[in-house]
């Protein structure tokens, strides 16, 4: 139901982002999706990976503040209005969205990652809707 997202705190210093990418590459971990939220001094890197557990221990060993966050992924079709419908489902269940970003985008299908204020409620609402949760 849930998928594991790796969150990493990085200062806005040159080369830090690449250091994360390099560690993942050296350890044969694939990046499925990436999102970066930034402020003037630091950023939060959010990653969906082929092996989040391995990545978190590697990054911590290398001095990064990193943690695993539970998020959900929802399958959408490439049609106008899909996101709006999904948001209506969540809002009807009184679930707020902390942040979201695209997981995959194909010709007919797409999927997004959502961090919900109440993940359990979000899962329940989606399961009782036409939408489908994605597992990795």
């Amino acid at each position: 139901m849930y998928i594991k997202q790796l969150s990493v705190f990085i200062e806005n210093r040159s080369g830090r982002l690449n250091q994360v990418a390099q560690e993942l590459k050296d350890n044969n971990i694939n990046i499925i999706s990436i999102s970066l939220a930034d402020t003037s001094d630091y950023g939060l890197l959010r990653l969906i990976l082929s092996d989040a557990d391995k990545a978190v221990s590697i990054l911590k060993e290398n001095g990064f503040s990193a943690t695993i966050t539970k998020v959900i992924a929802v399958r959408l079709t490439q049609e106008v209005g899909q996101l709006s419908e999904l948001l209506a489902v969540l809002s009807a269940a009184q679930v707020d969205i902390e942040y979201m970003y695209s997981l995959k985008s194909g010709e007919t299908e797409a999927s997004i990652v959502i961090k919900a204020s109440d993940p359990a409620k979000a899962v329940e609402a989606i399961q009782n809707s036409p939408f489908e949760l994605l597992c990795l």
Partner: protein
């Protein structure tokens, strides 16, 4: 329990006449036996006869650590080496070591003072006390050891370094007392928790000193170990640990005024400040034979009260140390001590994160920034959480020092370290 009621609870009048008599003797001793002291007094136009009572102490010149260095190794000793039974030395971060010597009577007085501290912490002859200060040239180990032995306790000379053995013996011997630095006590508490041994220890009281710590840290450690932790103060130039300690009421440290006369002065003007006002602690040793100190500037900042304490002791109390006069920063005209910032950070979640204070001057205005390492327990994957953490820290710092600081969250282990210790203050203004 009060170890020496006759001395610790004497009336202020009696104490003052004892101090006056002892000061006259001390001044005579240094004038006739220590050339640098005699020269200083002569330069100030003073003779021993000019000092008739304790109130005349202000006429005497100050002594500093530089005087110890300039007279390395034995130039300030007031007795021949045949009378000296022990030497201690502190390495100091700059230049030569400062060397101190003790006569047999000095060692006895020291043991008496440390025994008073132990009794203040509720320890006595039925206790098993581990001494986990370093044994050697540093005064902590042997100072604590002789005091605890004088108390009649069963003393275990652990020294530092082997925490596992210390904890194993704490359990096997049923140790009830422990003397060590506050940071080592924190470490010991962590290891006890990790090993799940909290229920097996019988520890009831600790005496901790030799480095600055905060009241928050003290309370935290008490709760974690289920003990009562006491602050013990001392410095090798004056004696070593045992110059002062706090009683069960923890409202400042009782200073043993029959041996050490305390003054608080403004570090800039060197004029005395009233009770309750923070200044530099100046100590005169009243009974020391080996290397007497006349108005020694400790550089430690504190305030003093002469109000009687609930515990029954009449000795003056010095407040928890607020920092070192050499560490004091003046930012936008406000006196700021790194220890205040540290205490503020501690209130955020009870553990001091790694931090660095950066002072700069931009367009003739002082700027203050504090870098705080984002350790795992602070870390959130939401920006709004991190921003609220910044605000909480900023507020705590503002409460503590009255200045707004820019709080910058930085990656773990990114703050510059020197010899394994984080560099706490960078004052870029000095570079201009």
């Amino acid at each position: 329990m009060i170890w020496n009621e006759a001395r610790e609870c004497m009336s202020r009048d009696e104490l003052e006449s004892l101090q006056s008599a002892r000061l006259r003797k001390a001044v005579n001793r240094v004038y006739h036996n220590v050339e640098p002291y005699r020269r200083r007094m002569q330069e100030a136009g003073l003779e021993p006869g000019d000092i008739s009572g304790i109130e005349d102490i202000r006429k005497l010149p100050f002594t500093t650590k530089d005087d110890l260095r300039d007279n390395y190794p034995f130039g300030l000793f007031a007795v021949p080496l045949s009378e000296i039974v022990r030497i201690h030395a502190s390495s100091g971060t700059t230049g030569k070591a400062t060397v101190v010597g003790y006569t047999r009577k000095d060692i006895d007085v020291w043991a008496e003072c440390v025994a008073r501290c132990c009794a203040m912490a509720g320890l006595g002859r039925n206790d098993v006390i581990q001494v986990a200060y370093g044994y050697g040239l540093f005064t902590g180990g042997l100072g604590g050891h002789y005091g605890a032995e004088h108390l009649g306790a069963t003393v275990v000379p652990m020294s530092t370094g082997n925490t596992k053995k210390l904890i194993d013996m704490m359990i096997d011997f049923g140790a009830t007392g422990l003397m060590c630095t506050p940071s080592y006590l924190m470490h010991i508490a962590e290891v006890i928790e990790e090993r799940g041994l909290r229920d097996q220890i019988k520890l009831k009281a600790t005496l901790n000193g030799a480095e600055p710590w905060t009241e928050n840290m003290r309370k935290q450690i008490e709760a974690r170990l289920g003990i009562e932790a006491h602050d013990i103060y001392g410095l090798s130039e004056v004696m070593g640990p045992g110059v002062a300690a706090d009683c069960h009421f923890h409202r400042g440290l009782h200073i043993y005024e029959d041996h050490f006369y305390p003054e608080i002065v403004d570090p800039k003007t060197l004029e005395p400040v009233p009770d309750g006002v923070t200044g530099e602690l100046v100590i005169t040793t009243l009974t020391k034979e080996g290397i007497p100190m006349i108005r020694y500037r400790t550089k430690d900042l504190t305030s003093i009260t002469h109000e009687p304490c609930e515990c029954g002791r009449t000795t003056a109390r010095i407040s928890r140390f607020k920092g070192r006069s050499d560490d004091m920063l003046i930012i936008r005209g406000v006196n700021v001590f790194p220890s205040q910032v540290e205490a503020a950070l501690l209130t955020v979640d009870g553990i001091t994160p790694n931090y660095q204070i950066i002072v700069d001057r931009v367009n003739h205005q002082d700027t203050l920034a504090i870098l705080v390492e984002v350790e795992e327990r602070f870390f959130s994957d939401e920006i709004k959480e991190l921003e609220s953490l910044q605000k909480i820290i900023e507020h705590a710092v503002h409460q503590a020092i009255g200045l707004h600081a820019k709080i910058k969250l930085v990656e773990p282990k990114s703050i510059e370290r020197s010899m394994g210790k984080a560099v706490r203050v960078i004052d870029k203004r000095k570079l201009v």
